[in-house]
């Protein structure tokens, strides 16, 4: 009996449609599922649906229109609550697809529908927010010049971050990428900054640990953890960063400073590739869709110092493999962001924390966002450090005792500098403390 249920439905669907056409009944606002492919469905009917309109499959699932063909409409499902079948009725809602945000959700772990993931309930005062980002006009931006302190000496001194800057954090697995984002969030306490941590495809356990870390250090009152778990499905994972940035934009429009950590864009690129291939899009380099650069650029271009004084600072995270920072997605994102902090597995193993690769890391804004206090010191120390690392590499096997005095001094000073960059997690230093720590090295 249950075996032939779908086909019964299918033939019903055809009969109904033919009957509807015969009687010229309105089939415009509704349709029926003709094909199911993972989370992508083809729908017949829905003749006057709009592009990116929210549609629902009864109370079983909801999604958005991603293509309107001459005969069928493609829908990507963002939420599936119970199994769907070919022939199920699909209804248009006349509303653009959107996400939700509740002003009272700061301090909580939520998804794009403003559901509190720990309490398991939806915020009552949730308001619709867009799920696509719109470009911020060039002329509405102003110069990025105010510092955003992370409390990490290596960042604030050598690769400073300004409010409105996009600074990429990249490195292999287990090199401390997320930790830098969390350190930066914790250090915003008392600065009137709204922090949004976007967790993509993290395990529920990991997100709970992050929540507990931030809670313990008093960072949750001004922080929103926006999450899409791996089992929430690809379209939800794909859309969540845009939702995070739309929420950030809302705060920025009110004149607030916002810090957004996106953890991570490598997964985002892979999810987007999956959706695109399933939707029969033409693949590009490494099978990623050709507009993967644009996808990331439109997200990260939301980072800006706005003319009303508000700002969005973004710390996107990218995971590399085998320390290779020259792969397609990584170089794409490097070319979008205003600098990158490269973490190296080798430095991590040698006990250097944060495990920054000094040669490959850069801040394109540099001294422009530093206070006078740290600017000159940072420039001098960075130059000395790079020169030391180069010398150390060329004379790797040389005996330090047989070197010229100049060179020996350079090596010894370099080692001390490296040592001073070490900092344990969640132990932030204020700019004056950083200055004190390195003062003796500038003579």
């Amino acid at each position: 009996m249950s075996m032939d249920e779908p086909s019964t439905k299918l033939s019903d669907s055809i009969k109904e449609k033919i009957a509807a056409i015969k009687t010229e009944e309105n089939v415009y606002g509704m349709g029926r599922i003709a094909r199911i492919r993972n989370y992508i469905i083809e729908v017949s009917g829905l003749e006057d649906v709009g592009f990116f309109e929210r549609v629902v499959v009864g109370d079983k699932a909801e999604g958005y229109v991603s293509r309107i063909g001459r005969n069928q409409v493609t829908v990507e499902l963002v939420r599936v609550l119970s199994p769907i079948f070919v022939g199920d009725e699909v209804t248009a809602t006349k509303q653009p697809f959107g996400a939700y945000f509740s002003p009272s959700s700061l301090g909580h772990v939520v998804d794009m529908f403003a559901e509190d993931k720990i309490a398991g309930s939806i915020f009552k005062d949730r308001e619709p927010v867009g799920a696509v980002v719109e470009p911020i006009p060039i002329m509405d931006r102003t110069t990025v010049s105010r510092p955003l302190y992370t409390g990490l000496a290596v960042v604030d001194l050598l690769y400073p971050i300004g409010r409105g800057q996009r600074q990429l954090i990249l490195g292999d697995k287990k090199t401390g990428k997320t930790q830098i984002g969390l350190d930066a969030i914790v250090n915003q306490r008392g600065t009137d900054t709204v922090c949004i941590y976007v967790a993509l495809g993290k395990t529920k356990k990991t997100v709970k640990e992050i929540y507990s870390d931030l809670l313990q250090r008093g960072a949750m009152p001004y922080t929103l953890i926006l999450t899409a778990f791996q089992d929430d499905g690809a379209p939800a994972l794909y859309r969540t960063p845009a939702v995070g940035l739309t929420i950030a934009n809302r705060f920025m429009q009110e004149g607030k400073d916002v810090l957004v950590v996106i953890d991570d864009l490598t997964l985002h690129a892979n999810i987007y590739r999956e959706i695109s291939l399933l939707a029969d899009k033409v693949p590009g380099r490494d099978a990623y869709p050709p507009d993967v650069f644009f996808t990331h650029a439109s997200l990260l271009e939301q980072g800006c110092q706005y003319h009303n004084g508000g700002s969005i600072t973004i710390l996107p995270i990218v995971e590399t493999r085998g320390g290779d920072i020259t792969d397609y997605i990584t170089t794409n994102i490097i070319s979008i962001t205003d600098g990158q902090l490269v973490l190296s597995a080798k430095a991590f193993e040698q006990g250097q924390k944060p495990a920054v690769n000094f040669g490959l890391s850069v801040s394109r804004l540099g001294g422009q966002v530093q206070e006078d206090l740290l600017r000159q010191m940072g420039a001098d120390i960075r130059r000395e450090l790079l020169s030391f690392l180069e010398t150390r590499e060329v004379f790797e096997l040389a005996n330090i005792d047989e070197m010229s005095e100049d060179m020996r001094n350079q090596i010894i000073r370099g080692r001390i500098l490296l040592e001073k960059m070490n900092q344990y997690k969640f132990s932030p230093l204020a700019p004056t403390e950083i200055r004190t720590r390195f003062e003796e090295m500038t003579v």
Binding site: F52, S66, T143, P283, D291
Partner: protein, 469 residues
Amino acid sequence: MSTVTALENTTQAAHAKRPIGKIVAISNMSVSVLLDSYDISVRDIIYVVSNGERSYFEINNVNGNIANAIPLSYVYGLSKGLDVYVREGGLRIEYSDEVLGKVFDALGDTIDGTIIAEPHTKNIYEKNLSMAEINIKGDILWTGIKVVDFFAPLQKGFKMGMFGGAGVGKTVLVKELINNVYTGQGSNSVFVGIGERSREGRELFDEMAASDLLSKMSIVFGQMGENPMIRSRAAYSGLTVGEYLRDEKSQDVLVFIDNIYRFLQANSEISAELGNMPIESGYSTSLLTEISEVMERINSTESGSITSFQAVFIPADDMTDFAVNAIMSHMDGQVALSRKIAEKGIYPAVDVFNTTSKLVSVEGVGERHFSLVERAIAHFARYEDLEEIVAVLGIDELSEEDTNIFYRARKLRNYFTQPMFVSEKYTGIPGEFVDIADVLNDVENILSGEFDTLDEGEFYYIGSVKREL
């Protein structure tokens, strides 16, 4: 994109028009139109009205009574059955003195709040120059950047490519060139921002305004957060403005493009959305045609010259990338930037082995300059070998000749770093414009051992040696 004034100005009577067809299919970057008439062609501009707002499209291909068009903005909210209207004149940009001091988007609208009272516009898809029109002569143009003037000198009318992977300093180099060449030249210039950061666009505008250079410059932006059509068409719009200055004002025009790779990248996005079969790495099937169409317009004529400096992004640090090579074959000179060198803190991070120009010859720069280039490159090549030997065996194992080459090459490498005007705020060192005569003397002295007694550290981030001593 709220209003499209340049488009609206061209055809005021459009309202009264009959629709030419209806939308029958929509995807992210294309719509299909069922046509009533066959009087429509590729690159025509059409529009629909939805929720009181117009959305524009450019016709990409026509198949019988179905036309496929690419949106100039977004398709969110559009539905099947909308009436489609045509606008005559296609994509246009201002073609008068009004272009100076203004900022345009790729579709020819000002985005800096200024209004052009009486627009005189021109279609952005100008025909290519004929062979007879192209002038190949030009004076040498010094940039004051040691490594560029020495290894890749250029003359007016050259196309110079700045090739580099992500984050190795292309934009800084382009900005330094704007600072050094544009400020010294005194003629008008055009900056075309394609697929790059909006933050940098805004900063460029502010810097130009602050140094009173804006009134002689036109800026066209299609930045990376915009849809691919906007990024792609910024190239054509920018060139049309450059051609106005060259042809109508008979000037030696400087055109700065940051970044021409993004033009081809945007085209590949459009091509894929239309479902065209891609070539390697997903690039557009017609990549070679597209790049030629743009590059062939950048030339000097009898009335004036266009010298262009173009940043070229190298995806995945892959110098063999098809698009990068397609661009390279159009260049008269190239400066290659390398991550390996940037990693050592050497800026501009020039890879001298891949940096050259058509002018590097005895006829182009004279025998002395030419032979110094040859000698310098030989030193660098030998240094690369010696570096490995030293790392394993130590410096003491080298012959006297090799020891000299080793140290002199390192000095030379340090000498070719340069404090830049545009990075003063980052490095804290004031920028320097270095005369080519000084560069030649210094290089000669380093190579011949005159400076053997100086420490290599003293050559790091200086202008000329003369000034340091």
